[in-house]
């Protein structure tokens, strides 16, 4: 067990190193760059050469990479040039991390709260009208391009009917105290209830738009997994013993059916970040997704590198945790 964990962690470090090298070389091979972003139409060959020299971009790529690595080991991931110019990239990451966490966790909760019960109900009434219509609803949820759905919702609820704010994270001028970087939590612990509620209002539409992605996946996985467990012998035994339906559901079926859902949570983190790029762009929500998009278009390499490396690390860590949980929970794997 311990050896397994240590091995996975070492692999994680290796993966991150390789990824950072790949990213570094690949980003700098893309056309354009921070020099063009800074100079724009005012560029002349002389200015370009000067700026390139000052930024050290004319040195061989491996020299640049080693310098970058040395700084990275000191915790310095460079300064942002486009997303939030002059701010350390790591700071940009942490500032926006809170925003995306609030968005992603909310979307995930939306997916779980809707997906699990509906998945269970669909499985119970398999191939009935309810099951089929729920399947179609969840599939339509995936079929609609997320940016289109986000746009429609924003147009209807925010612009046309004015029920919710159209974009951003919090109304400017509300004078909220920042503690953790998670606006909703901050409002709660400083008892500034209006700040919390304001942040929630800004998140309702993005939660629903982004939430359709985990909802669809969790619904289908729950349904498939409940179907599988339902047919198992131990459920039939429980029924024969005369246990109530609720007990069977809670104590036997759901608990066993949840394992694949846990697995898929790990995979969903990647999907959520992708969806977040589009959702945050539509809602002008200052999170990691928006930072990635702006960073890419403004060639803000430090920010893009930090976010992708963090996403990769998170992905690998989450999946390692999922594997460990599996090993803990499933005695067959533990025995190995």
């Amino acid at each position: 067990m311990l050896r397994y964990t240590v091995r996975r962690l070492l692999q994680l470090v290796l993966v991150l190193l390789v990824l950072s090298l790949l990213l570094f070389v690949w980003l700098r091979s893309l056309p354009g760059g921070p020099v063009t972003a800074l100079l724009g139409e005012r560029a002349t060959p002389a200015k370009r050469a000067e700026l390139t020299a000052v930024l050290g971009l004319d040195q061989p790529i491996f020299v640049q990479y080693f310098k970058f690595l040395a700084r990275m080991l000191r915790g310095d991931f460079g300064q942002s040039t486009g997303v939030s110019a002059g701010t350390p990239a790591l700071d940009v990451f942490f500032t926006r991390f809170g925003a995306t966490i609030e968005l992603a966790v909310g979307a995930m909760i939306f997916g779980l709260v809707l997906g699990i019960p509906l998945g269970y109900m669909a499985a119970k009434r398999r191939a009935g009208a309810l099951d089929n219509s729920l399947i179609v609803v969840s599939l339509v949820g995936i079929a609609v391009p997320v940016f289109f759905l986000a746009f429609l919702m924003k147009y209807l609820f925010a612009v046309k009917w004015g029920m919710l704010p159209p974009s951003g994270r919090q109304t400017p001028g509300i004078d909220a105290t920042r503690v953790t970087g998670l606006f909703i939590v901050d409002g709660l612990i400083t008892r500034e209830w209006d700040a919390s509620w304001d942040s929630v209002k800004h998140l309702i539409l993005p939660w629903i738009a982004l939430g359709t992605i985990p909802f669809a996946v969790i619904f289908r996985i729950t349904r498939a997994s409940v179907l599988e467990v339902q047919g198992e012998d131990f459920v039939r035994t429980a029924e024969a013993k005369g246990l109530t339906r609720t007990t069977i559901r809670n104590r036997h079926v759901l608990r066993n059916a949840m394992l694949p859902v846990i697995t898929v949570t790990g995979l969903l983190s990647g999907l959520l970040l992708t969806g977040a790029v589009l959702t945050e762009k539509v809602f002008a929500y200052p999170g990691l997704g928006e930072a990635l998009y702006i960073g890419f278009t403004k060639k803000d390499y430090p920010v893009v590198q930090v976010i992708i490396l963090a996403a990769a690390a998170a992905f690998v860590i989450i999946n390692t945790l999922v594997d460990l949980t599996y090993a803990l929970v499933d005695p067959r794997i533990r025995a190995r």
């Binding site: 939030s84 110019a85 159209p166 951003g168 920042r178 403004k298 430090p302």
Partner: protein, 578 residues
């Protein structure tokens, strides 16, 4: 009976966590004066009572939608429009521009005189001006600022773009070959506290207008020293700015810096109650950063922002009919089709003239460009003086184009036409439609077009500058009202994107521009520019001037006091909401 211990433990843990968090974080509100909530009659009763143009509430708040984040707040190092928009509210220079025009007017200097040789300019300063930190503004401060700009080194030089473009070199700066880079700046002397004399190394038409550019703003020497303002470092492939630029910008303007909330993407400025001139009519000015254009429009429609810049021309009619105020700026930009003269086919004047005749510019302007756009006849808009009349015109004439091509023996011409994707510029709101229209115009004249499209900052600018295109679309927004700002930027340096070093008149043009700029007498100078313009259109034609467009600003209907500026120099001080 099961005790469900684990449930109780979990609940207990959660409760302890919540209580401890709540204990260590208290609200910071109420410590500063809350400016945004309901305001009683403010202490500043005078502005509330002012006649026709006064707000009912002197503590109002304006929220303006910005398209991007400001990079920092020291105008010397600023290069992009969003940074300028914010710093313009907090800073002023010796000269300024009359609202709504590109004409010079006094600002921190109430008057000026130039010496007979045109080299020394003496500025008499306003009295009683203080910086935001309370220190006085005087001639010593003026000289400190200019000397500080001149003495930049290292990374500061690359960031001081407007100084490089306008003044030339920095102190002790040497070019790649080791020769000193010439600078317009000579020295600054504070003869007495109320007058500063600036001496230049040669005569130029750029003075005194260029002192109105935000990059040449006057900042507090005390603050500059205290917060280490020159300490810009290049690290890796980005810059680290000193505390002065990120947290303590200190100018003389009607607004002061309060905060840049990166988590919520807003910049907050507050009214400077000790301002020497007419105080700002609103108390708080907030710039909300919304990168997506459609999102900005929707915020305006939902009422969460009070205005934004550069609405898409396609939306103008819709916005007007919804009751918003569309302020159209007088055009101060130029769009041109550039020729890269490295291509031997293009080195023949007849070929270039043929292309000029083949383009149906009036139709482009009326169908693809926003209301207020006009066809350009010179390489700068008609808001710039002198605007030479009677230059060679190239009225749309496909037959003439074909004849000229035949005469040059290039009836089977193939050209590589570059256009940028993923961008809108004030002079070029929709590059794709302009490209499509011109492509069919040129094809109708028998020219085969190969197209190359790249993202603006994904190879387009780099490639055009590296002279890889044959013909390309580009333009320029003017900084101040001189022909030199346009023509000089385009053609002074012969290593320009038109590759004028490949044609015999390239160096000649560069010399003519230099001479014109150095002429002391205004009448003589204008005559020289007239000659240059005529030559540019008749004999040189390094490109085809296409149009000047009027970018617009849109505001909610209850916003008063905004004057649209061709230089994008809108001041928010007179702005308030009803």
């Amino acid at each position: 009976m099961r005790l469900h211990i684990h449930r109780w433990l979990g609940a207990g843990l959660a409760a302890t966590l919540a209580v401890s968090l709540a204990a260590c974080a208290g609200s910071d509100r109420g410590n500063e004066s809350s400016g945004s909530s309901t305001a009683a009659a403010g202490s500043d009763a005078s502005s509330a009572g002012s006649a026709a143009g006064g707000p009912s509430d002197p503590n109002g708040q304006i929220v303006f939608g910005a398209a991007g984040a400001p990079s920092m707040f020291d105008p010397m190092y600023a290069t992009d429009g969003e940074t300028f928009r914010v710093v313009r509210q907090m800073n002023e220079g010796l000269t300024g521009f009359k609202p709504g025009t590109a004409d010079v007017e006094p600002a921190l200097a109430k008057s000026w005189e130039k010496s007979s040789d045109g080299l020394t300019w003496t500025f008499t300063l306003q009295d009683g001006v203080k910086f935001h930190d309370g220190t006085p503004f005087d001639a010593a401060a003026v000289c400190y600022n200019l000397d500080r700009m001149y003495a930049q080194t290292g990374a500061g030089i690359t960031q001081g773009q407007y100084w490089s473009d306008n003044m030339g070199g920095f102190k002790g700066q040497k070019d790649a070959k080791g020769k000193p880079v010439p600078s317009l700046y000579g020295s600054c002397k504070a003869s007495d506290a109320g007058a500063a004399a600036i001496t230049l190394t040669r005569v130029t038409s750029k003075f005194p207008a260029l002192l109105g550019l935000p990059s040449f703003s006057m900042q507090s020497p005390t603050a500059l020293k205290q917060y280490d303002a020159n300490n810009v470092k290049a690290e890796g492939d980005s810059f680290i700015y000193p505390a002065y630029a990120t947290d303590h910008p200190t100018g003389t303007g009607p607004f002061k810096f309060q905060a840049y909330d990166k988590a919520n993407n807003t910049v907050t400025l507050v009214r400077n109650d000790d301002y020497w001139g007419e105080k700002a009519k609103s108390k708080t000015l907030i710039f909300k950063i919304i990168p997506d254009e459609t999102a900005r429009k929707q915020e305006l429609e939902a009422g969460t922002i009070d205005g934004y810049d550069l609405p898409n021309p396609a939306d103008w009619d819709g916005l007007k009919s919804s009751g918003f105020n569309l302020e159209i700026r007088p055009a101060f930009n130029i769009l041109y089709l550039g020729f890269t003269l490295k291509n031997p086919d293009l080195q023949d004047l007849r070929v270039r003239q043929a292309i000029a005749y083949a383009l149906n510019r009036p139709q482009l302007v009326s169908s693809q460009l926003p209301e207020g756009a006009v066809v350009a006849s010179l390489f700068y808009p008609d808001t710039v003086t002198p605007y030479t009349q009677g230059v060679q015109a190239y009225d749309y004439n496909v037959q003439k184009a074909k004849d000229l091509l035949a005469a040059a023996g290039k009836s089977n011409l193939t050209l590589n036409f570059w256009w940028p994707t993923d961008v809108t510029r004030p002079y070029m709101p929709d590059p794709k439609s302009i490209f499509t229209a011109f492509k069919s115009d040129l094809q109708a004249a028998g020219i085969t077009i190969k197209e190359t499209s790249k993202p603006w900052n994904g190879g387009y600018l780099d490639g055009v500058e590296a002279q890889q295109a044959d013909i390309f679309l580009l333009g320029w927004t003017g900084d101040y009202n001189t022909p030199d700002n346009f023509l000089g930027s385009f053609f002074s340096d012969t290593t320009n994107r038109f590759a004028t070093s490949n044609v015999p008149w390239g160096t000649k043009l560069s010399g003519e521009l230099q001479t014109a700029d150095s002429t002391v007498d205004d009448t003589q100078r204008n005559a020289l520019y007239d000659t240059i313009n005529k030559e540019l259109l008749a004999d040189y034609l390094p490109g085809v001037p296409i149009s000047s467009s009027s970018p617009a600003l849109v505001l909610a209907s209850n916003v008063q006091g905004m004057v649209a500026s061709p230089l994008t120099d809108e001041k928010f001080a007179p702005v308030y909401k009803n």
